[in-house]
């Protein structure tokens, strides 16, 4: 198996910067996430700035990508090709949103928060992995 060392290092650094960003953003804190979602109650708009800042920078990245023939360390861009807004997208997103509201955690923050030493986060991440596996099995059987 040929290892793409530059791509590996790039992924490591990107993951690290992502984790740093998450730590600053407040998204590692379920209390703050749920405060953002508590629109009718004591609403905190902090996370809007997280999303806004992230999308703003990514817009630049996407613009550069569209003008590029290929990424630096690979031969082609690997982007999603499905275009239809189907029931799976909506149903899956709804389920995701409910889980996010219930726990105040989503995949990135949950994994990053594992290092903070909370057994609660471990429970969430294990359950998340199980949920993903169940979906994988369900998708194989169904499709």
């Amino acid at each position: 198996m040929k290892l793409n060392i530059p791509a590996l290092l790039a992924a490591l650094v990107c993951g690290h910067v992502f984790g740093l960003g998450l730590s600053l953003s407040g998204m590692l804190d379920p209390v703050r996430v749920q405060a953002f979602l508590d629109v009718t109650g004591a609403w905190s708009p902090d996370l809007a700035f997280v999303l806004g800042g992230a999308v703003a920078v990514s817009l630049i990245g996407v613009a550069i990508m569209r003008r590029s023939r290929k990424p630096v360390f690979d031969h082609a861009f690997h982007l999603p090709t499905i275009r239809r807004i189907d029931r799976r997208l909506v149903a899956g997103s709804a389920m995701f949103g409910i889980g996010w509201g219930l726990g105040g955690l989503c995949p990135g923050p949950a994994i990053a928060a594992l290092t903070l030493g909370s057994s609660d986060v471990v429970v969430f991440v294990i359950a998340m992995a199980v949920g993903m596996l169940i979906h994988d099995q369900w998708a194989r059987v169904r499709l």
Partner: protein, 136 residues
């Protein structure tokens, strides 16, 4: 207004990370996809490298800030288990989460991602509202 600067800085870093992964490796920094592939035992080496970097992020923050990032879980263990199952199943079924759809998808002006983000935000808001108003 200055309480928004730190979250904004966090968001800028997240955007920077996603931009770098896109322009360097040509990949979407979608955590549900990256972790999902690892869990489903078809993860690439770059997926594992990303997760290792991600795990080190809060540690670097702790070293720089002198304290760990705040993370207060209020839900019960049972609720967390259900929440995790829903987030895991839902993100794979919906082909993404807050990073894949919310950051990259919106930046790509993807109609699918707009639909996904609108849906999961609405679901999240509804869930928190119901729990806070109906729970004893």
């Amino acid at each position: 207004m200055n309480s928004y600067i730190v979250p904004l800085a966090g968001g800028l870093l997240i955007g920077l990370s996603a931009t770098m992964l896109l322009l360097l490796n040509g990949r979407i920094a979608g955590i549900s996809g990256i972790f999902g592939r690892i869990v489903e035992r078809r993860g690439a080496a770059t997926d594992a490298a990303f997760v290792v970097g991600l795990l080190l992020g809060p540690m670097a923050y702790s070293l720089a800030a002198g304290h760990a990032p705040v993370s207060t879980v209020t839900a019960s263990t049972a609720t967390l288990a259900v929440a995790g199952l829903l987030v895991g199943f839902g993100s794979r079924m919906g082909s993404g989460c807050t990073s894949g759809h919310g950051v990259l998808g919106l930046a790509r002006l993807s109609p699918r991602s707009v639909a996904a983000v609108a849906t999961f935000l609405a679901a999240g808001v509804l869930t928190v509202t119901l729990v806070r108003n109906l729970a004893p």
